[in-house]
Symmetry: C2
Subunit: 216 residues, 2 copies
DNA sequence: CAATTTACCTAACTAACGTTAGATTGAAAA
DNA sequence: TTTTCAATCTAACGTTAGTTAGGTAAATTG
């Protein structure tokens, strides 16, 4: 009577299997897409038989939903956490730089889940897509505010359309899952260069501005 | 005897059906991914029966290859054509701007084919992926040269890693297929803004630089 | 120890897949 | 008119998909 009624008692073994199933599904989803990912493949990688998957999940779609939700959550929490940890007096550009770094780091650290979501969003059944649409919209709104406030404060140029800017920026960030190779450079380097290009642009400064060094 | 031996005579009807099959396949590939795209769906949209598809293509993979190749070709040819049409004395930044615009315009004008390739590259069978890998590599090399020469000429900053820059740039361009809405703004506007942000960055110029107007 | 429950397996079902062989149609060629 | 052939259909083949029902070993509970 000490234990409350909260459904079947799931032990540590179950959690481990569940994790293995999700890991396998995330990888397969990333590499093959939703339609080509089979429960038998998932089961094989999780070291169980296909039928046993249904002890942990009610359907293939439920596995999909879990993978997508985790890929989204991990990035959102990283960015929100990083922003919250910033000193109160942080400038707007500083906040944007922190958000870029956090987004990139979370994205590439949990590559299978995040890139599964990025690649297959748009190819997934309507029902699954709508499930975390609100979360996704909130995340987009977060970036939108970040940019708008920076613009209102005069820290980014007034002539930019922040909607287009946000889309371009998030695009270049999300696309890193397609080319980033941890053996070539640490994530931090990519983040630093991205912010640098984003803030200052790629064009070399004109001659007369180049003479005075160390403006920073 | 007036006709040479060159296999079965394919008429206009056949070409029309072939085009319908490819259009349907491109859209389905984009929306569902390779594994979920079925020949019966393709056939239905092309207004024929599933078995008849095999009169035009030997296999599902062959359809896939045709869609992917077309998506790639259309972009490459647009960019190379635009660059070739540039006056001989065009500056490096001017060349980059032209390439960005051409890439974006081709990408978004042939949305189904290009975004099918972008979304499903990496989820497609090895054999199909390798088929136009050389073309893809050549296209990447084109951009790499474009950026490197601009850097060598001193038109883009010397402290940038052109490999990372190229990846980030192509990422933000390719991602436009996920968010671009022709009802909101013309492609040219997006291209212009992308180039503007790319060259000058988003940060507002410092106060002392803002006084002198019309530096261009 | 007996009873229960967890976590899995086995074996099967139906549905749908890519693919194929053999008719069938309609228009052009002879 | 007869022949021919491009273009399609019909009907099926073997395979594999997601899913389910019923069984089982091991651990937990009483």
């Amino acid at each position: 009577m000490t234990m409350q009624a909260k459904g079947p008692t799931r032990g540590r073994k179950s959690e481990a299997s569940r994790a293995q199933i999700l890991d396998a599904a995330a990888r397969l989803l990333r590499d093959q897409g939703y339609g080509a990912m089979t429960l038998r493949q998932i089961a094989e990688r999780a070291d169980i038989k296909a039928g046993s998957v249904y002890y942990h999940f009610a359907s293939k779609d439920e596995i999909l939903d879990a993978v997508l939700a985790r890929g989204l959550h991990v990035v959102i929490e990283a960015v929100e956490g990083r922003l919250a940890a910033l000193p109160a007096g942080a400038g707007h550009l500083e906040r944007i730089a922190a958000a870029v770094a956090a987004h990139l780091e979370a994205l590439l650290a949990h590559g299978d889940y995040t890139s599964a979501g990025i690649r297959t969003f748009g190819q997934v059944p309507e029902a699954s897509r709508q499930k975390d649409e609100r979360l996704r919209e909130e995340y987009i709104a977060l970036w939108q505010h970040l940019l708008q406030q920076a613009q209102a404060a005069g820290e980014i140029r007034a002539d930019l359309d922040t909607s287009v800017l946000r889309a371009l920026l998030l695009g270049s960030l999300n696309w890193t899952v397609e080319w980033y190779d941890p053996a070539r450079q640490p994530v931090e380097t990519v983040a630093t260069q991205t912010v640098d290009i984003l803030f200052r642009g790629i064009a070399a400064p004109p001659m007369d501005a180049r003479a005075k060094p160390g403006a920073r």
